[in-house]
Symmetry: C2
Amino acid sequence: MRLSKRTEYGLRAVVQLARLWPRTFVQSKDLAQQEGLPNKFLESILLALRRGDFLESKVGSGGGYRLSRAPREINVGDLIRRLEGRLTVKEETSTDELSPGEVAVRLINERLTDATDDVLDAMTLEQLVEHVTRAGSLQQSMYYI
Amino acid sequence: MRLSKRTEYGLRAVVQLARLWPRTFVQSKDLAQQEGLPNKFLESILLALRRGDFLESKVGSGGGYRLSRAPREINVGDLIRRLEGRLTVKEETSTDELSPGEVAVRLINERLTDATDDVLDAMTLEQLVEHVTRAGSLQQSMYYI
DNA sequence: GACCAACGTACCATTCCGATAGGATTTTGT
DNA sequence: ACAAAATCCTATCGGAATGGTACGTTGGTC
């Protein structure tokens, strides 16, 4: 189980935006620089997030992106499902004439998606950022031991 | 979250073998035909499973594959991890100088792999086959309603 | 009206996935 | 002994997905 680069970059940008919330707009260029990401690629990701109503954008000088809602209101599962862009062609639910092996595979797939959805849906962006800053301060405090 | 074809085919073959356990060797060709899988591709998968000590094989006329142990002794998690053949280049555990975003991504990845491992490790091949045959008999009985 | 940044489109390079081809090796059956 | 049968092994390949770049357009600010 591995997240795509697209998802990873999107998450990293959103985490940055959440830490700045509710301050004003941040430009794609700056986000890319802070996290060391390819600028144009990131732009396309941010655009998708805006379309998914996770971000608001402002064009022109002094423009940029910001979260459309408070981090508390944003669910990580929703975010990632948007980023992964699952097309998953509806799985062709032809329940008839399934071999035993096919039934087994289907069962496992269901269990896996349920488990991952549970993990991701139980986490808000606020919680995620909280974990991160805790880990960060922990990391920082270790320099002084 | 989706299993690769390689994993899917391997599972389907193993489920068939588990249903026949502890009977004698089944040929790749027959497994491929029963499940409608490409023969040569399946062969390479079965070979990997043999190397992973899930199967025993016998060369020559009357040869084939069979489980190396009882289905009860085979863990689905082990099986799938073998089949996916994740190379996952050790994640480069450079704990220093991580951006907040990177920490967040790492956290999510850990949670996801933990959750999926939990699901898969809690299932033996015997249990999987049991689920399948139950579902199968249910499906069959519906023909007679 | 000059600049700025989001928006949009098209394209490209590389990797991975699923699969096939063609054989070499080992055992069984006659 | 020999032929058939099956696993075992290596190489290759087409196509799709992924990750990324280039270039231009639109809309907003000073």
